[in-house]
């Protein structure tokens, strides 16, 4: 709740409180109705029977799904590292003083930001092998993900670098650093700190993208669910559990991004150190809030 949202309604008086109570009751009834309908649909098709859920209390099933999760995390980690590195290079390329470099990096980003990842996966699956480029299964998933995610990372890095006060670059140049030194010593450390929350959010997107392993038949979490359900015929149960696992992992990552956001990109111990030692600088046009 921030200021605008609170200001939209007064401290509720007796009538408003009554209306809020009515809305709460109506909302609760609708919610309960949806829940009852769902339970009814499950029950009437026999999907609520204990025997249909019992397998999910056994270790072998969970071991299989957790193996899938592990494969998902491995693919996500490989994609994250490679596409962040490539994305940084592309961002630097787009901001470079060499025109051909700028043009090339710009073209790459603009192209792969608007081509669906699934199309890239089909290219690695069906087109590249014809030209002798037949990756192992893991890389058939990771390479297209890197290609598309690096474009997203490039845009994040570029916006962060551009958002940094120009005075920082000018000061760096003024004390005699080369452009590359200014970037490495002055601009990037500050920009990366500012970008930490966006980068973690992008990790959530990337982790969701690894579910495309379903198309590649790489046994990450979603495809593991598919394989499992074709053995057990517990279709809806398996996919609900799989969805729950995704939800837990990604919600934790999203929460982490919000914590970083609230702490200005710092995590662990150093929270607000700078603001504690120095009064906030009051610059022209920068009114204190």
């Amino acid at each position: 709740m921030n200021k605008t949202q609170q200001i939209l309604f007064d401290e509720p008086g007796p009538r408003a409180q009554r209306r809020i109570r009515i809305a709460t009751v109506v909302g609760a009834i609708l919610l309960a109705g949806a829940l009852v309908a769902a339970v009814y649909q499950f029950a009437s098709h026999g999907e609520l029977a204990a025997s249909r859920w019992e397998p999910f209390t056994t270790w072998p099933i969970w071991r299989y799904l957790l193996n899938g999760l592990w494969a998902t995390l491995r693919a996500a980690a490989a994609t994250a590292v490679l596409s962040a590195a490539l994305g940084l290079l592309l961002a630097l390329g787009r901001l470079s003083t060499h025109r051909p470099l700028r043009w090339l990096a710009g073209a790459y980003v603009e192209i792969f930001r608007t081509v669906p990842t699934l199309l890239l996966i089909y290219v690695t699956l069906f087109a590249l092998p014809q030209y002798g480029l037949n990756f192992p299964l893991f890389w058939k998933l990771v390479v297209p993900l890197v290609v598309s995610n690096s474009a997203a990372f490039a845009e994040i890095f570029r916006s962060g670098i551009l958002a940094l006060d120009r005075g920082q670059t000018e000061a760096g140049l003024a004390v005699g650093l080369r452009r590359s030194q200014v970037m490495a010593l002055v601009v990037l450390p500050q920009a990366l700190l500012q970008l930490a929350p966006s980068l973690v959010s992008q990790l959530v997107g990337l982790l969701k993208d690894t579910s495309l392993g379903f198309v590649v038949s790489y046994t990450e979490l979603l495809y593991s669910g598919q394989v499992l359900s074709s053995y057990t015929h517990l279709l809806i149960q398996t996919f609900l559990v799989v969805a729950l696992i995704y939800l837990v992992v990604n919600a934790s990552l999203s929460k982490f991004a919000r914590v970083l956001q609230a702490r200005n990109g710092r995590f662990g111990g150093r929270r607000g150190r700078r603001t504690a030692e120095l009064p906030p600088p009051i610059l022209e046009g920068n009114t204190p809030r």
Binding site: L8, T114, V115, L119, S211, L212, F214, S229, A243, L247
Partner: protein
């Protein structure tokens, strides 16, 4: 090139399906987004909680997992829709969460004075939202909404993974017959870029027409 021209109608059907899916889901997701954003700032705690839960769930689940759940698993409890409808519902629900967050960000940019003034002249929550806050808030986030629409366009390709023959799947089918991957996939990629360009142009136009310069 011949591979493309020989299967023009097949690719054309795919393109039309992609465009249809994009338009239908954009409209649906926009409506859902406004509703969920409203829920998230409503005076009723329960409604706020529902809005927050909606966004949390659908931003953190992979679209493909939702599609698979909806298309393959829901029929086992007797819920079946035509394939295109299923894909459209799932994509709209998924992108609705992102649009809700964008719209909420827009609402936050509206000056506190505007809301205060609306309340001072006696507008209720719904009225001040409809006549004062949303018209201004939506204009502030035209660009982000456009970006979400482009992401939505790309996400419609995931419908291919559950069997909808849209542009990506059509390209793949043509390639399986013709074995001309470079021509076919480049063509499909160019079509997507063109569609994204159109969305970008429309967004830019709307932005120039509607955005409030403060």
């Amino acid at each position: 090139m011949e591979a493309l021209t020989a299967h023009l109608s097949q690719l054309g059907h795919g393109l039309v399906t992609t465009v249809e899916l994009t338009v239908v889901t954009t409209v649906g997701a926009m409506l859902l987004g406004i509703v969920v954003a409203t829920l998230r700032i409503a005076p009723v705690p329960l409604l706020r909680a529902i809005g927050t839960a909606y966004v949390e769930v659908f931003q953190n689940l992979p679209l493909l997992a939702l599609l698979v759940l909806f298309v393959f698993a829901l029929p086992t409890i007797g819920i079946t829709f035509p394939l295109f409808t299923s894909a459209a519902i799932v994509i709209a629900v998924y992108e609705g969460a992102y649009l809700a967050e964008a719209i909420r960000a827009g609402i936050n940019t509206v000056g506190v004075g505007q809301a205060e003034a609306a309340r001072a002249i006696g507008l209720t929550f719904g009225q001040s939202l409809r006549h004062v806050i949303l018209p201004q808030g939506l204009r502030a986030v035209i660009q982000p909404i456009g970006n979400i629409c482009i992401a939505l366009l790309m996400n419609t390709s995931l419908a291919a993974a559950v069997g909808v023959v849209e542009l990506t799947q059509a390209a793949n089918n043509v390639n399986l017959v013709e074995a001309q991957p470079i021509a076919v996939f480049t063509g499909a990629g160019l079509a997507y870029m063109l569609l994204a360009l159109i969305i970008g142009q429309v967004t830019g136009l709307l932005e120039r027409r509607l955005a409030i310069v403060r």
